[in-house]
């Protein structure tokens, strides 16, 4: 299976990773090879097989609705790249 430059550029936008032209060329080859490997899946007969999202046949446990957390803003924001007045700052978002 080949993957086109356009596909790579589209996927890179979705994944929010900047790639330059040179990287796109390398990725074209590497991702193409990986997809060739993955294409072996086509050989398997999976017609009546239920997809397996999880290794264990277990069900979700639910938590009681009790507040267990305290304010730790100071310690979390000490490791943040940019904050002001308790807010995380990002370049202006235009909706």
């Amino acid at each position: 299976m080949t993957i086109s430059r356009e596909d790579i550029e589209k996927v890179a936008v979705l994944a929010r990773i900047r790639v330059d032209d040179e990287q796109v060329s390398a990725l074209e080859k590497d991702l193409g090879n990986i997809l060739d490997l993955v294409d072996q899946l086509g050989a398997a007969d999976t017609d009546s097989v239920e997809p397996m999202a999880h290794p264990l046949n277990a069900v979700q446990r639910l938590r009681a609705d009790e507040v267990t957390e305290t304010n730790q803003r100071e310690s979390f924001q000490a490791i943040a790249p940019a904050t002001e007045n308790g807010l995380y700052l990002v370049p202006r978002v235009i909706e």
């Binding site: 979705l14 990773i17 993955v38 398997a44 999880h54 290794p55 370049p91 202006r92």
Partner: protein
């Protein structure tokens, strides 16, 4: 002292032969002197370790002891450590100091163990050679004497190299597709990947959530058992953690192996395996027969599809798991972003390494519109076929045995040019993660002076049996005691 196991050191501390402070100091000095050759540590926490050792000695004096009180060890740098930098081998987290502990980290703290630092690893645990670390490749202690710089395997290459080089008696590790067993095999140490859900994943930085599992690395099976006693157990903070009784894994180490039924999956003795490697593995199986086990051939017909399924599922999950690294709340942020898109795309392009980006892109592609069914859904179906193979095999036998890797440790740089060649390193380990069952790698001989690992695979929650089988083997062999020159 540095050649002693955790069990032995525990007895030394108990008898008062040595204090934790003295022991910690010795290992710290050894790291200082030796680790320049291996680069197995990203961070060494000297001051904190000595303070913890003093506290451990006080605990002992007060009569508050566990087998781990005062024992030096190391954490793979994927486990969050409150107040200690946790990088996951990435530039993205080069300056990240979490204000919280992983459950595994907290458990060792609680047990009184003394963490000496954080071990090197492939970036975000993506790799089989420890060459994708932002903090430089790790060199395998084996092969250095021949002047060769070989890989320690990955992603837990730092933990494996540090244990092999006797810089610590034990280290935590994680395994998503072979990241404990493959480096354990290549470095000649003993490693265990438990059943999925046995060890809490809380605070263990996620690669692929349905495959990741924390585990153990040490020189002996007994030490692995001691580690698992601390690590295993239900954690209310991890929804995928299983509420199931934890046995004392050391209690059954000495059970006789008479009557143990061993299966050899024929697909794992294929032409991918060199004759010399195969010979070592078959010799190991013969030892088991001497111990009273019976051996038969079994088949895992879908095993050959494991790598293909894995390289859809793991990147797909990773592509979402790594979206949180966006330069907003923590971690690397690019200089002077001109707008939001620039902040995202440049922070992530600069903060992640090549292999991580490659996998995020593959995963994004596999989940994108038009490909979801052909890739993701198909892989999940194949995953069930693979699991079914194991379920069927364990109807016939108690454990499966195979080589851990197709070949011994390779030279650094040998497989970095083609990702697919690197991926094939995990050909014998990956199916185990897809099924979620436990497996170990145990030192079982040498080829050209390089260690060979025997993989022992068990049914769900059979860690005690695996450790028992490995321990009994280590009573009649000394591969695990060999020291790299």
């Amino acid at each position: 002292m540095h050649n002693k196991s955790v069990a032995e050191l525990s007895r030394e501390l108990e008898s008062g032969q040595i204090s934790s402070v003295e022991l910690t100091q010795q290992f710290l000095d050894r790291i200082d002197q030796e680790d320049g050759k291996y680069n197995s540590f990203i961070t060494v926490t000297r001051e904190q370790a000595l303070a913890d050792a003093r506290a451990a000695d006080e605990q002992r004096a007060a009569g508050n002891v566990t087998p781990w009180t005062g024992i030096p060890f190391a954490h793979k740098d994927i486990f969050c450590t409150n107040g200690v930098r946790t990088t996951c081998g990435s530039k993205m987290l080069e300056a990240f100091t979490p204000p919280y502990d992983a459950t595994v980290t907290a458990n060792f703290r609680q047990a009184g163990a003394v963490c000496l630092g954080k071990t090197n690893m492939d970036e975000f645990a993506m790799g089989s050679s420890n060459e994708s670390s932002h903090f430089g490749a790790v060199t395998n202690p084996w092969g250095l004497s021949q002047g060769e710089k070989r890989v320690p395997g990955g992603s837990s290459g730092g933990s494996a190299a540090a244990v092999a080089a006797r810089l610590v008696p034990a280290a935590t590790a994680t395994d998503t597709g072979g990241s404990i067993r493959q480096p354990a095999a290549l470095c000649g140490v003993t490693g265990l990947k438990p059943t999925y859900g046995r060890v809490s994943r809380y605070g263990m930085i996620a690669f692929a959530s349905s495959l990741d599992q924390g585990g153990t690395m040490a020189r002996t099976a007994e030490d692995n058992a001691l580690m698992l006693n601390v690590m295993a157990g239900f954690d209310p903070k991890d929804s995928t953690s299983l509420d199931r009784e934890v046995p004392d894994y050391t209690a059954t180490l000495n059970e006789p192996l008479k009557g143990l039924k061993i299966g050899l999956p024929k697909e794992y003795f294929s032409d991918q395996l060199s004759p010399a490697m195969e010979q070592q593995v078959r010799n190991a199986v013969k030892e088991y027969e001497k111990l009273g086990a019976t051996v038969k051939e079994v088949s895992l017909p879908n095993a050959k599809l494991a790598i293909a399924a894995y390289y859809v599922i793991a990147p797909a999950e990773a592509s979402a798991n790594l979206s949180r690294f966006d330069g907003v709340r923590y971690g690397y942020r690019c200089e002077d972003p001109k707008d939001l898109m620039d902040l995202y795309t440049r922070s992530r392009a600069e903060g992640f390494g090549t292999e991580v980006k490659r996998r995020i892109l593959v995963g994004t592609y596999a989940l994108s519109a038009g490909y979801f069914d052909a890739y993701y859904l198909k892989a999940q179906k194949v995953r069930r076929l693979i699991q079914q193979d194991f379920i069927n095999a364990f109807k016939e036998v108690d454990v499966l045995m195979s080589p851990t890797t197709p070949s011994p440790a390779f030279i650094q740089g040998e497989k970095t040019s083609d990702p697919v060649t690197m991926y094939l390193e995990d050909v014998f380990t990956i199916a185990i993660n897809l099924a979620g069952i436990p497996a170990m790698s145990v030192p079982a001989g040498f080829v050209d002076g390089l260690p060979v690992g025997l993989q022992i695979i068990g049914d769900y929650f059979s860690e005690a049996r695996l450790l028992n089988a490995a321990h009994q083997f280590q009573q009649v062999t000394d591969w695990h005691q060999r020291e790299p020159q």
